[in-house]
């Protein structure tokens, strides 16, 4: 099979799985997850083959695997649909395939496959457990098959986005993911909070998507093409950079970049539009991992990286990008410090880490941003799946004690899980260390260090210090989380009875932890290895840019900074929370942080309240009920009068009597008189037909001849 064909095929298995499950196998849980995991495995296999083949190609950036066919006719030309594997998409495909496969496998265990049906579970609510021989045991998810169908579609969206060779199909994948995130965040639609979160996520990302679509339309109108190959060619880029738009003094490239970047702000939950992401924790944990690590938010960053040649053309846009990234990084990190929900901490951490990547892109650190995207995907998937495992273990405890008031996600209800769930603990620790940037061994260290080094080397001091502080906070809240969750003594009865999760959940954790550590090594700067091994990642991804970025020389300041902030943050986190037993003892429960800087409240006051007021009071009360209804009420009686007049003097006598009853009478009369013709004797019919044919045919013949 040619590589191009294989690339075409990669996104297909999950969508086929979606249809198979929805149409055929939704009654059988085992068949559904077999289909879904099998599809993910096929995609994974294809992705790995493509990745390995991509590695074997010299100058992949100049000669990518590409194939395209005509799709939508636009006048004389066609919008094309196609696939493209260059270094960037190859590396993205790599981590997406791994994370997706792991998450699929994990989902089997997470949804309690093999457990009995719940005693009083309903579709749309999380399973409440079943009673078997007097023991409470976890029960299987009622909408098990539906879940696999949805994440299949989700994976299809992401894979489509990654392999597409143009902005349009990328946007299609983007929107499929938007739909799936809505479906999956609201998976337990019986919960009001989940419903609201789904709507919030959908609406918020929609804001970004609208701008992105504007950007795509603008891009198409300026360049006449949406294919990456065309729009990233020298002449097009040059033209884009030189066309002024008159909007804030931006060039066309700047405006397009800005519009596309707003799409990313929505999708990757950057500062003004970040509010949906923490609420998205209402979905099942594999979904959180899917959204936060493997697919959706990565897609946002991927889009910016993909569009980097355009975005980087305008300094102003770059500044905005850098500012928003850096601000988001530190802003979300501060919030994460004060959260008690294990998944929420990770959610804010995701926002913060995405800020890192965006900031890195804003200062032009293309390779570093990509590197951090990949490492982050691995360790954040690991952390989310780990937290899901913890929650699962805690739910076990909750089922054991039967005290459903205890929130299994609150870290202050945990503690001492290290011994109960060793595999989860060790993998979570690896993930946490990678997130904090624990020096030298973890992947997170290398990627984060590269961002800091880039910022320092190019003189973006403000960005550098902001990110450094954010990195310190990252290490701090990560250690806080680990300490509260795993160390010390169990703080509740439930935590004492927590239980290690099944192999379907722990195996993905172990696999991902290998990557969380190991993937950093492909991007080690050459000074650490003494030049023995080249910085493969830099070499591979860096070839994407037209002017190859120089690898940075060794510099002590950023290295020392990352060492200090990582180790310092970890140490501070551990020592601060070593003995904390309850939220009251937590000194960092500052209201402003706890309440996420009141952004939701602000939005509530600035947007939602006025909107509600506008619709409820202005439109509904004044305009609709007052003005329009008033006019209508005037019309009502008038029309009624005219209508009754017409009815009495026209409708009843003329229409009903004459036309209605009259035509019926006539038809009845004809029917009655024609009835003898219908004898039921086929030969008579035929005879009659022929005679009529003769008469008509003869008449026509002679008339036409005459």
């Amino acid at each position: 099979m040619t590589t191009e064909l294989l690339i075409w095929l990669i996104p297909l298995p999950p969508v086929l799985a979606f249809f198979l499950i929805v149409l055929f196998t939704n009654k059988s849980r085992a068949a559904s997850h077999t289909v879904a995991v099998g599809a993910a495995f096929l995609s994974w296999l294809g992705a790995m083959i493509v990745f390995v083949r991509a590695l074997g190609v010299e100058h992949l950036a100049e000669h990518p695997f590409a194939s395209a066919i005509d799709w939508l006719p636009t006048g004389d030309t066609f919008l094309q649909i196609g696939v493209l594997i260059d270094p960037l998409s190859a590396i993205t495909l790599f981590f997406v395939a791994w994370c997706v496969l792991m998450i699929f496998i994990y989902s089997v265990g997470y949804h309690n496959f093999g457990q009995p049906e719940g005693d009083h579970d309903h579709a749309g609510l999380p399973p409440h457990g079943a009673t078997v021989h007097g023991h409470a045991v976890p029960s299987v998810e009622p909408m098990y098959s539906r879940f696999f169908a949805f994440i299949g579609l989700f994976a299809f969206g992401m894979l489509t986005l990654v392999v597409s060779d143009n902005v349009l199909t990328m946007f299609v994948g983007w929107e499929i993911m938007g739909l799936c995130s809505y479906l999956l965040i609201g998976f337990w639609y019986g919960k009001e909070s989940a419903r609201n979160a789904a709507i919030k996520a959908f609406m918020t990302t929609r804001i970004g998507d609208v701008f992105m679509l504007l950007g795509i339309a603008f891009l198409y109108s300026v360049t006449g093409s949406l294919s990456f190959e065309k729009i990233f060619s020298e002449e097009v880029l040059h033209a884009l950079a030189s066309v002024p738009t008159g909007v804030f003094g931006l060039s066309a490239a700047g405006l397009i970049g800005l519009l596309l970047f707003i799409g990313t702000i929505g999708k990757s939950a950057q500062f003004p539009l970040h509010v949906w992401l923490p609420d998205a924790m209402e979905g099942p944990t594999p979904v959180s991992a899917m959204i936060h690590a493997a697919t959706m938010v990565s897609a946002g960053v991927y889009a910016v990286i993909r569009m980097f040649p355009i975005i980087s053309l305008d300094e102003k846009t770059m500044t905005i990008v850098a500012f928003i990234g850096a601000f988001t990084a530190i802003f979300a990190a501060t919030i994460a410090v004060a959260q008690n929900d294990i998944k929420r901490v990770l959610a804010y951490s995701t926002i913060s880490q995405l800020g890192f990547m965006i900031a890195a892109l804003g200062i032009g650190a293309y390779v570093a941003a990509t590197f951090h995207l990949v490492t982050h995907a691995f360790f954040k998937a690991l952390l989310f799946l780990g937290s899901g495992s913890v929650i699962h273990g805690m739910e076990h405890g909750v089922l054991h004690t039967g005290n459903h008031k205890v929130d299994p996600q609150d870290m202050f209800n945990m503690g001492g899980l290290k011994d109960k769930m060793p595999k989860t603990f060790w993998t979570f620790l690896i993930g946490g260390f990678a997130l904090s940037g624990f020096p030298l061994v973890t992947a997170g260290f290398w990627s984060k260090d590269e961002i800091l080094a880039d910022a320092w080397a190019h003189g973006h001091t403000i960005v550098f210090f902001t990110l450094a502080i954010a990195a310190f906070l990252t290490a701090f809240y990560t250690m806080r989380q680990i300490t509260l969750t795993f160390f010390g003594e169990p703080r509740t009865e439930e935590a004492k009875h927590a239980h290690e999760t099944p192999w379907t959940m722990t195996t993905p954790l172990i696999v991902l932890s290998v990557f969380a550590v190991g993937f950093g090594w492909v991007g080690m700067p050459h000074w650490i290895t003494g030049g023995l091994v080249e910085n493969w990642f830099h070499h591979f991804v860096g070839s994407m840019l037209h002017e190859h970025s120089e690898e940075l020389a060794f510099n002590l300041v950023p290295l020392a900074t990352s060492l200090i902030v990582a180790l310092g943050g970890l140490a501070a986190g551990y020592f601060t929370y070593r003995n904390v037993q309850s939220p009251a003892e937590d000194k960092l429960q500052i209201p402003v942080l706890k309440n996420k800087w009141y952004v939701d409240e602000l939005y509530n006051v600035v947007f939602i309240k006025p909107a509600v007021w506008f619709s409820e009071v202005f439109v509904s009360q004044w305009m609709d009920k007052g003005l329009i209804d008033g006019i209508l009420h005037l019309f009502g009686p008038a029309t009624g009068g005219v209508g009754s007049g017409i009815r009495n003097y026209f409708d009843l006598p003329v229409i009903n009597r004459f036309f209605g009853d009259g035509s019926a009478d006539v038809t009845w009369w004809f029917g009655k008189n024609l009835r003898p013709i219908q004898t039921g004797r086929i030969q008579q019919y035929l005879l009659l037909t022929l005679i009529v044919l003769f008469v008509v045919g003869g008449l026509l013949y002679f008339l036409l001849m005459a």
Binding site: G680, Q683, L690
Partner: protein, 102 residues
């Protein structure tokens, strides 16, 4: 040589005879016999048109082969219907099966 008109007139006559049978016979099987005659008349036409135009163009023969197939289908279903009607109503007289009127 025989002019084509002979064949066409023969076919027309056979068609007329068949039609007479269809229109006048009381027995349903006899009606179907008449239909057979009409179909044969059509086939004579088809084959003669093949012979009297371009013989390398086989359309006439092809269509007569298809008429064979259609005839076989028509007869099998038609006779099955006759037998079925005979089982239910005990008659094969077409005019006795006039339940489909008013």
């Amino acid at each position: 040589m025989i002019p084509q008109s002979w064949y066409l007139i023969l076919a027309a006559a056979l068609f007329g005879i068949g039609m007479f049978g269809v229109l006048t016979r009381r027995n349903m099987i006899a009606i179907l016999l008449g239909v057979e005659l009409m179909l044969n008349a059509v086939n004579i036409n088809l084959v003669s048109f093949w012979r009297y135009s371009d013989v390398l163009n086989m359309s006439g023969q092809v269509f007569s082969v298809i008429v064979f197939a259609v005839t076989a289908a028509e007869v099998s279903v038609g006779l099955a219907l006759v037998i079925s009607a005979y089982r239910r109503r005990n008659t094969v007289i077409a005019n006795d099966l006039d339940m489909l009127k008013f």
